[in-house]
Symmetry: D2
Subunit: 350 residues, 4 copies
């Protein structure tokens, strides 16, 4: 990213960004010499040590190639086929993975719950967690899955996560966290990762990294290590055990080195805040939703949306309701990118 880099116009998702330079360098280093395959390499071991440090306890780690694989494998290890997954109705696992959880679990059922800002409503969860438990005519409540940060960019507070965790624990359910934007949540809350996960009862975390700086590497962080052996078989069987695992591991290792993961997320959040701040000044724009992570929802007049599209900007619009627009920033978004977008909005709104 030099000063002459072209302005970034894709705000549709943080997956439009490339990769952090530190991660690129790690991959280049990994490319020479020999290494043992299937995770028996040094980088994979290092990733496990670094994540054990980050989470202040021994964890197991399975690097995987996508967040959908991380979610689906985690859920498959958390519910029998006749179980149910309690999740928000707007969750990625429910809407955007083409039934990956149903495939990996051999047909478990996702039970969609309501709640503001795509956060599960504890009252609804309390009822669903006991719904027909033990009744063979109905699927058995088995696991709760929360997304942190949520699909709308909101962040569960520590209290909220602990409440969810208590409900799950009391009902004997497992707890999975889809952390596609976990770093953003930690950055936003400024809390210890341990407090946000296993100390609140999280058994398995889908640790998103691709949206925050890696190329092709996400991971499952296993807090309930009694599930590790099963996950290893499931991952192999799913075609998720890379032979040259070192290339996934090198990405994750660099991601976890010197706090790069948090730095990237903090930057993405700051860019979203800058965008939000700038949009506030435009009277034709109404900001919507939470202001927690790197996602900005707002309502734009139609002519502004059309003007931005004509300028070459890419973003989701009119998908939730007419006039509602979503902008997503990333680790690679620059202040210039944001300001350029803001100027375009101002120009079309005027």
């Amino acid at each position: 990213m030099t000063a002459t880099a072209p302005v970034a116009r894709v705000f549709s998702s943080d997956n439009a960004a490339g990769a952090s330079p530190e991660i690129v360098e790690a991959v280049v280093r990994a490319a020479s010499g020999q290494a043992m395959p299937y995770g028996a390499d040094d980088s994979t071991a290092s990733v496990r040590r670094r994540l054990s440090d980050v989470f202040e306890r021994e964890v197991d780690v399975l690097p995987v190639s996508t967040g959908s694989a991380a979610n689906a494998l985690s859920l498959a290890a958390s519910t029998p086929p006749w179980g149910s997954v309690l999740c928000h109705r707007d969750s990625h696992i429910n809407n955007d993975e083409c039934g990956a959880p149903e495939f990996y679990t051999a047909g478990a059922k996702l039970v969609p719950l309501g709640g503001e800002d795509a956060k599960i409503d504890p009252g609804e969860l309390r009822v669903a967690a006991r719904h027909k438990a033990g009744d063979v005519h109905s699927v058995e409540p088995s696991v709760v899955s929360v997304t942190q940060a949520t699909e709308t960019g909101a962040v569960y507070t520590l209290d909220e996560i602990h409440t969810i965790g208590s409900i799950a624990r009391e009902a004997g359910l497992r707890l999975h966290m889809d952390g596609a934007r976990f770093a953003g949540a930690v950055a936003s809350l400024g809390c210890a990762p341990a407090d946000l996960t296993w100390r609140a009862g999280v058994d398995l975390l889908s640790l998103g990294a691709t949206k925050n700086g890696t190329m092709t590497a996400d991971a499952i962080v296993v807090f309930d290590r009694s599930l590790t052996a099963e996950l290893a078989f499931r991952a192999k069987r799913a075609g998720q055990l890379a032979s040259k695992m070192r290339f996934h591991a090198a990405q994750l290792d660099a991601y976890l080195t010197d706090g790069l993961w948090l730095r990237n997320a903090t930057h993405a959040g700051a860019m979203a805040a800058r965008l939000r701040e700038g949009l506030k000044a435009v009277p034709e724009v109404a900001l919507l939703g939470a202001a927690d992570a790197n996602i900005v929802f707002c309502r734009l007049p139609q002519w502004v949306t059309e003007g931005l599209l004509a300028d070459g900007y890419a973003f989701y619009h009119d998908r939730w309701e007419p006039g509602v627009v979503r902008f997503v920033t990333s680790f690679a978004t620059t202040p210039q990118d944001v300001d350029h977008l803001l100027r375009a909005v101002g120009r079309h709104a005027a």
Copy 2:
């Protein structure tokens, strides 16, 4: 790989190698700037064009993260759950993927057939292809899967592949090729890739690249394009649709540029030939199996095996039968690596 690179001592598999410099460079280039996700990027389009050139016809392409995923997805698109996959009893899909085909196909059955050098015996195939067809009490023969080059490094001749193709076609079965070492087979035969695949009736090819120079990218090449839409849904659902697809595509694009894929395979084959040639000169060593691709099977005295292991060499031994050893070379193996190994064998055998 400079002159001072350490000697490579891992001959257990070609997946112990790193990545080709051209591919590393392509990944570095792909890491800056924005790109549309999920395969809507320019590199993915380029890969499709290059493979259409290589195969002399329009093909569709799905980049995936492992060969097991390529195989399992291909088979799932080729058989109903109540179908059978006719394959060699020594095939990777039958033995080394932890039931990935059974998982992806929702429980189809692999029917293991015999044959020399891990090549399917046409006579056995002819019988199996009709076995209880149409009988609801039995699984329905649905697809043949051949490995080219085979698990022992042998290469089906063009005639052999066409015979298999005829049997499949006449019985109304699909034909899948596990091309984990496809480049090695093409290099060995010196034939047109089209002759070895769709002109022989191959519907779907698992195009291995990881063992031959890429980091994390294999692909499904779709000749029967009526299967493409189904494969796209299946891949997404399997967690195999990478958001930053450009990073897989960039690897494959470089792999297919200026014949790198064939060059790498030719080199690996030459290194195996050099090793074979050198071993011939050692009276205590008996060469075994075909001499087609980059795999060398031989029988070593136990003290030689033990000596090599003590030297830090890694390779499979005593897995097939006592005394039988397998060495695998790769695109990254140097003549020095081979000679070093040969000297060690000679020293221990003496």
Copy 3:
């Protein structure tokens, strides 16, 4: 059932009844002599002829042992694993089969829709039928499933079914009918079974018979006969191809002889009407829901419910909302049974 038969006190479901005498006699007849297994017997052929008569066209028939099997097999033949089943949120397939559809379909997704009286709202269906069609990130709308009569005893009118059928057809979706109480719906509407099914676009019908007089036999009636071969494999694989099929077929054959199926359903409906009429006269009782088939919903004071339970009556209560009670009549319910219940209600209410 002689005059001295004990009063029937189980109104929880029509599955508490025994079997029609005509059906018992048919089973006794089937028990002697030899017959070819797996549906190659004469009774199975006769069932197919009788159903072809009933539906005024050639149909195929698969006798199965439960309604859940009929539903799950039908849905599995109607959607790929990455598809969705559009159904009412109160439907049996969604709530009461422990995920049988998800199991048989290898993980398709049930999309629950709203609507009065457990009938699918056409407006919601119209939206859901196109929702993200063709988008690999989402499950693909594939089949609509209606329950006729519905889970609350309401009956879709001919017009309503034809509207659902049009929406399905226009969106390219299949249409399945869960006819656990199909006979009751036909009896209530007084229409031709053909008009209620294939003429409205129904591809597959789960023909319930167990609740209406048979012992252990339901059936799938196949209107889209291109699905028959697939269904046969699926049924065998699911353990639903009975070796002594004649025993299922004999039940269905008698069920379809001389209009027994309709007579039984008409009787059950009349008993429900008698009950409804009687309850109207009790001021403490409020009737609820549709008055179409053999299910009566009402609101009872708590002391009446408790009194009935103390009398030995069995029925569902406080399951939908507090105070709401469901009574189900059957082919075997007698006027005396109804009057006895009414007297008990009157006594406790007074």
Copy 4:
């Protein structure tokens, strides 16, 4: 079966027979009055008590509608999806259930083993039971399934079953018995059912009854009762939980009353012995295989086979190898039926 009953000419399988009169009467009795559904009826409780008596310990029981369902459910409760089922290559689960085990287990792998008379060879089992255990690249040995009596009518001795049981236990595998002809095996051995099952380590027994006198009822007998809850969910989900369970239970209850099950099997075995004895006297006929249960294998001259077929006899021939014929007797076979067949053989052979 009166003296004027037509001669039975179907010797293809014991599933061509009807039902025992005692069982017919039980079904007739079950048809009147009300009963609680889904196994909460008195007959189901009685079946459990009777089987606990037969097996000299508390057992759990799941009545199911077919032997394939009993097998597939049992195996699904005994292996994870990434496990393997060690069975004989000629076993019914491997060849004749259209992949039901693969379907119910969500894709486990059947590993076919050899052995005389369709009995698993202990030496082969010992190797397979440890094969790549714990290696994520391969399916995990999880359960052994034996058929008693075997598919060829042979009967494992007590010693043989105990040997299999020891191998399974030592390797940490479960043990399932496909007892489609369990009664025949007990009758042949004259042993305690407990010795043949749980005392030898059997965890789950598919108790065949349909081939031996019932109409539509088989059962799973659960010795390892830690599996019962899981089996109940799986059975419901598979469409195997009958609403009017009393009709299955009444059959099984009568089957287990006053030793009917053993009487029937003893009779079928005696009829096979009578047939075998008679065939010995025909020089053109060569008897083959074991002489344990109700199956007779022999080699017939082609003209004899053709003559019998022309007479209207039904039996399997030329399925194993040319000239080999299989006759199966049943509880309903009469001495007259056997003698009639013997006369026909003699006539054609002469």
